[in-house]
Amino acid sequence: MTSSSAPTRALGAEPGFVVQLDAFSGPLDLLLHLLREEQIDIADIPVARIADQFLRVIHDLGLNQAADYLEMAGRLIRLKAQMLLPRREGQDDWEDPRHELVRRLLEYQLIREVAGWLERAAARRADQLPRGFLPPPPDLPQVPLTIDLLQLLQAVEKVVADIPTPVLHRVVPRPLDTEGAVLRLEAMLAEREEFSWLDLLGARPSIVDVLSALLAVLELARRGWLRVAQSESFGSFLIRRAIPAFEMLPQPTESEPGSEAADAAD
């Protein structure tokens, strides 16, 4: 895949060594990369295999903390479960659960192509240099500004119109994303026995993130998937897996860490 724009990187040299967060431009990029390496038809993705590989790569790349990747991992795990559901023979109205993922991948791939075109155009333009020397600005009187009251008042109107409804309290526009947080938490549980609440939150969480994550922890605790322990009062607490990981997803088969992905990267 020489035409692939997947970045060159040293992968798996040291397991767990954080390479570069920007080695991939996002989870969709990583997913496309895996599909390309395996020469898989995008319309018929072997979800189970790809999900395992995806988890392994984000583990090896040290991307565990990146919420965007974890969210995708959660989606893949869920998709994998959906694919395992039995379906009746000759059932016509079966809707492929992979459909949405395929749509997103194709759309993203198109954007990649467009971005490539833009990049080539920019490179061509950069090959033409503008004049380097700029004469100092002439010592002219400042251009007389033309503003008048009408303009000012029109601007006032526009500002007022753009202020979200003037209410006494501000409504938080973003609803809690409990579902996303559950997916992320599931993905982390699948990977690790035990981790801290702070690991789950990641870097610089917003209040909404914290609340969503808390609800997700409570939800999975209710299902009996995890236990929570706090060693000191007001300290961070530990989240521990309470059911065997294979009940959530099969462990990636034991192999040299990252070997497949390392080949892929070459």
Binding site: S4, D22, S25, G26, P27, L28, L32, L35, R36, E38, Q39, I40, D41, I42, A43, D44, I45, P46, A67, D68, M72, R87, Q91, W94, D96, R98, H99, V102, R104, L106, E107, Y108, Q109, L110, I111, R112, E113, V114, A115, W117, L118, E119, A121, A122, A123, R124, R125, A126, D127, Q128, L129, P130, R131, G132, L134, P135, D162, P164, P173, R174
Partner: protein, 196 residues
Amino acid sequence: MKPLTQLIEAALFAANRPITVEELQTLEPESALADVRTALEELREHYDFDGHAVEVAEIAGGYQILTRRAFAEAIERAQFAVRTPRLTTAAMETLAVIAYRQPVGRAEIEEIRGVSAGGVLRSLQERALIEVVGRSEGMGRPLLYGTTPTFLELLGLRDLAELPRTEEFSIALHPHKPEASDDGQGDAAASVVAES
């Protein structure tokens, strides 16, 4: 060269951005837009026929004098000037989404790219490649972004119509409908993926 052509050459030399025909007309208020165009044509021909190293380029709705492609490398090697550095992949992808979907909100950009976009949007705004063009009517009235003339300058395009249409890319947006395959997964042709 005619006096108007000289004036225009002087003005284009003095500015380091594309100048529109209307702006050039203010140099000689007596002149018509057609005169300005004729003079620009004369200047262009001068540069071409005499084998000058610079040319009159049509960019972002205006005209700018730029060096011809062949010389950039030698000039950069001699350290007299540097080419504009490349944007990151994330920035280019975000620009691609905005260029084709404008006006477009942050949520849609993030959905398409699968990553959060705050930092990239801010830096594209700081470089004046994108701007806020309005607010959506939806919840929270999110800001909508569009590309700027600086974006066209970066790519050396006359206008947005010069962007290729998405159908021209090798990836079609409509895949063969994913059918209920009975698990012959994995060995299918890599047609769509491979051809990029």
